[in-house]
């Protein structure tokens, strides 16, 4: 009995010790975590301080582009691009409606994919961001002095504009490759006639080096494969562009099976300098087309949409040396070029391997004419002849690769949900870190250039499941930030994103910050309906159309009361913000107006339309808390019956 109680006593002591040991371990674990490694400190940007990098993260199905700071992961702005945005009146006000015009009419949404920052000498220069609309093929340009979309060009002969919008190293071109091959020109044919009849167009859109104006320079009509992603050559391979393809089977139904039969698909290597020569020699065909080119003018604060009617097309079968195919396993997704330009990585989505092609070997094979047959007249280079190496069995479902400029590649693996770091040249895996969950793209600021800022990698996840507080069936997507300055990657932060992020572009904040505009200069405002001083404020009638030339400044509208409007009128409120101070926008909205508010920056003019349907006196007001007297910033419009003969009159401040 005594023995038993002794054992019990010892057991009790032991269990106490063990549990206290466990407690110690628990505490230790915490110190080994975020605090131990200073992860929190590394992403902490103190109040009032600025982040080191801008990250422009695509909004995917939101159609927009969001602007984050790194390393903090703080969201600064969602730039409306392809989707109407009631907050900013994008696509609602008269000035920006033309931006969303297409050959199909007004399309108020798109699937925004791959942002890319303009480059000079292969380095990101922070002048513009380009981003593609996937659904109704378009390329948009965002001006980084105003963080506004200033140009959208539609891409003809294209469908599913996925392998874009990547820029060459002096922003000579931004490319747009079609994911879906289609009949070119479109015609009423049986879908079964796909093979041979459907074509895949890749487009080269030139960018004016001074103003950034985009123009559809030429298209190359490739075989009817799916053109998935693309990257420009740089350094030694400058002048070339590489596109991954899948469905080289040219299947048209149940693609998940039928387009996954070939062991190898292709990376199409396009010599665009050669294309320029062919264009110069006149070896192109001018095809009739119909596509919109929409330009927002910063002086008139107004967009115009022009329909373009033709496009220059090159046929690779008639242009030797223009295109070569590099066999690449298997249904490769991402196509990435290292900072030196020598290595072209095919991320074999359905393979466990990364295939790395050598640019110099490819050139040698071309010179020696070592081809393995051709496809539709396009020479196929032997797989082994251009092969630089294989990162083998690095994970499952490789999608995209970026580079740190220190000899390492970082590849996302969708199925095994991880980022894998590997060495260029030796092709060995150095490190791997899990992502939460199912990572798609990744981004190293400047990683898409000759000179990456190799400090962080941002992984963008498709699925988050339990990672955040639940919000019903639909939960957020996310981005995760890793420190890559050491041999091993370190997860620092994850944060929710707007929509589903497909790729992002990052740049040192110092390259953009000093150029960011604070106001629009009132004296430079050339809007057709701008009024720059209160003497010119007026209301004019033209039949049933009424134009209100209105101003706003803290804290009143001029005029604030208007009479003589009739039921059935179409009233245009052209409102100019007379402020010339930083961060003093005003908003305006009218009761019952079938449109959004206007949010007008200092020095800017915007227009909304109101069609009054009821007799009465109706208020409008400022929607942006602009000053201590914001609540007083309001006005009335008297609406009389259509038959009334009350003259137009307007006033401010009369008692």
């Amino acid at each position: 009995m005594k023995q038993i109680s002794k054992i019990l006593f010892i057991t009790a002591i032991l269990s106490l010790m063990i549990s206290s040991c466990a407690d110690v371990n628990k505490d230790k674990k915490i110190t080994d975590g975020a605090l131990g490694s200073n992860a929190a400190e590394k992403v902490y940007v103190a109040p009032g301080e600025h982040d080191e990098f801008y990250a422009f993260v695509s909004g995917g199905f939101s159609g927009q582009l969001s602007v984050y700071g790194l390393p903090s992961g703080r969201l600064f702005k969602v730039i409306p691009v392809f989707s109407q945005d009631a907050e900013k009146a994008w696509g609602y006000n008269e000035e920006t409606k033309p931006m969303l015009n297409t050959s199909y009419g007004f399309v108020p949404w798109d699937d925004a994919h791959h942002p890319d920052i303009s480059q000079t000498n292969g380095e990101v220069d922070g002048r513009w961001v380009f981003i593609n609309g996937n659904n109704t093929p378009r390329i948009a340009k965002i001006d980084l002095s105003t963080f506004e979309t200033t140009e959208i060009i539609e891409v003809p002969n294209s469908a599913g504009n996925h392998s874009s919008s990547f820029v060459t190293e002096n922003t000579e071109y931004v490319v747009a490759g079609t994911r879906f091959s289609v009949p070119v020109p479109q015609e009423d044919i049986a879908i079964k006639e796909y093979k041979g009849k459907f074509k895949g167009a890749v487009s080269f859109i030139s960018v004016d080096p001074d103003h950034g104006n985009m123009e559809m320079a030429f298209q190359i009509l490739l075989p009817g494969f799916n053109y998935d992603l693309a990257h420009p050559g740089r350094g030694t391979s400058h002048g070339w562009f590489f596109f991954t393809t899948y469905n080289t089977e040219e299947a048209n139904s149940l693609l998940e099976v039928n387009a996954s039969q070939n062991d190898k698909d292709f990376i199409a290597a396009i010599n665009w300098k050669k294309a320029e020569e062919y264009i110069k020699q006149g070896k192109f065909k001018t095809m009739p087309a119909n596509y919109a080119h929409n330009v927002y003018d910063e002086k008139t604060h107004t967009a115009t949409s022009t329909m373009k009617k033709e496009v220059k097309v090159l046929d690779p079968a008639e242009c030797p040396g223009l295109v070569y195919f590099l066999p690449t396993p298997k249904s490769p997704h991402g196509c990435d070029v290292d900072p030196s330009g020598e290595y072209i990585v095919g991320n074999g989505k359905l393979s466990a391997d990364l295939t790395v092609h050598s640019f110099s070997k490819m050139i040698k094979a071309i010179e020696n004419k070592q081809f393995d047959g051709d496809a539709y007249g396009i020479p196929i280079i032997k797989f082994e002849d251009a092969l630089a190496g294989v990162v083998s069995q690095a994970g499952l479902g490789p999608l995209h690769t970026e580079f740190d400029g220190k000899g390492n590649g970082y590849t996302t693996f969708f199925i095994s949900s991880e980022v894998v770091k590997w060495k260029l040249g030796s092709w060995e895996v150095v490190d791997r870190k899990p992502t939460y969950y199912s990572v798609g793209h990744l981004m190293i600021p400047g990683g898409n250039s000759r000179k990456p800022f190799g400090k962080y990698v941002l992984a963008m996840n498709k699925i988050t499941k339990d990672r955040y507080l639940p919000t019903g069936p639909e939960v957020t997507q996310s981005a995760q930030l890793y420190d890559i300055t050491g041999e091993k990657m370190e997860l620092l932060l994850d944060f929710p994103t707007i929509g589903e992020p497909h790729y992002a572009a990052g740049i040192a904040a110092d390259l953009i910050k000093p150029r960011s505009k604070k106001i629009y200069k009132l004296e430079e405002n050339e809007h057709k309906y701008a009024v720059k001083n209160n003497e010119n404020v007026r209301v004019e009638r033209d039949g049933k159309e009424v134009h209100v030339y209105m101003t706003m400044i803290r804290s009143h509208f001029t005029p604030d009361n208007i009479e003589g409007i009739k039921v059935g009128d179409k009233v245009y409120f052209h409102v100019t913000n007379l402020e010339q101070d930083y961060d003093v926008p005003h908003g305006v909205s009218m009761i019952g107006a079938n449109t959004s508010e206007l949010l007008i920056m200092p020095g800017q003019t915007e227009t909304f339309v109101w069609e009054p349907k009821q007799v009465g006196v109706w208020p409008f007001y400022c929607t942006d808390f602009c000053s201590a007297l914001h609540q007083e910033m309001q006005g009335y419009v008297r609406v009389s019956p259509a038959s009334s003969n009350i003259e137009l009159s307007w006033s401010l401040g009369e008692d």
């Binding site: 803290r554 402020e579 010339q580 101070d581 930083y582 201590a628």
Partner: protein, 199 residues
């Protein structure tokens, strides 16, 4: 009489001409909402923005408490330049033609004019800060119940509601002061030159 005092007098009389290039005075307003402060440079012939649109923004701020807009121009902007040109010309003539006693005379006149200018500036500031619109949006009173004024300091720094106002001379004023100092010195140098000549 030797040259030295004349040169001092000449330089001293001409230095105030820099008032045509550099501002005389500056008033700067700081507030938490203005990480870049609002400021106005006062030239002898103009009010100028320290940063683009500052005066417009000062006016916008001040209209809440009923202060008048800072005028485009004031009569002083016509008078001050004439005074400076006359005094510089007069000083130049004196430097070449008269003796040191006149140098002191010039200095005294200039000093009186400067004082008058400062007094005039004070009067303008006082009116600007106290002559408020009776329909002012916000009316503030002092603890003793009198209407609060918003006069910026003549010289120095002062807190006015959420603003901290700084009022300090600028490069033009320093040139004026240096010029005056030189003419004052020229009087003594001239005096010494005369004594040494007599000996």
């Amino acid at each position: 009489m030797k040259k030295k005092s004349r040169i001092l007098m000449l330089v001293g009389a001409l230095l105030p001409l820099f008032l045509f290039v550099f501002p005389l005075w500056n008033i700067t307003l700081e507030a938490p909402q203005y990480p870049t402060p609002l400021g106005m440079d006062i030239y002898i012939n103009d009010f100028a923005d320290m940063h683009p649109h500052d005066i417009k923004n000062i006016n916008l701020m001040n209209h809440y408490v009923g202060m008048k807009y800072i005028p485009e121009s004031i009569p002083e902007f016509r008078i001050f330049p004439i005074v400076i040109i006359i005094m510089a010309s007069l000083g130049t003539v004196l430097a070449f033609t008269t003796n040191y006693k006149w140098f002191l005379g010039w200095f005294i006149v200039m000093a009186l004019l400067a004082l008058a200018g400062i007094y005039d500036f004070y009067l303008w500031e006082h009116d600007y800060g106290h002559n408020l619109d009776p329909k002012a949006i916000m009316k503030f009173t002092n603890p003793d119940g009198t209407v609060m004024g918003f006069q910026p300091p003549l010289f120095g720094t002062k807190d006015i509601l959420n603003f901290r106002a700084h009022s300090y001379p600028q490069l033009g004023a320093y040139f004026l002061a240096a010029g005056m100092a030189l003419t004052f010195i020229s009087y003594f140098v001239g005096k010494r030159e005369k004594t040494s000549k007599l000996q």
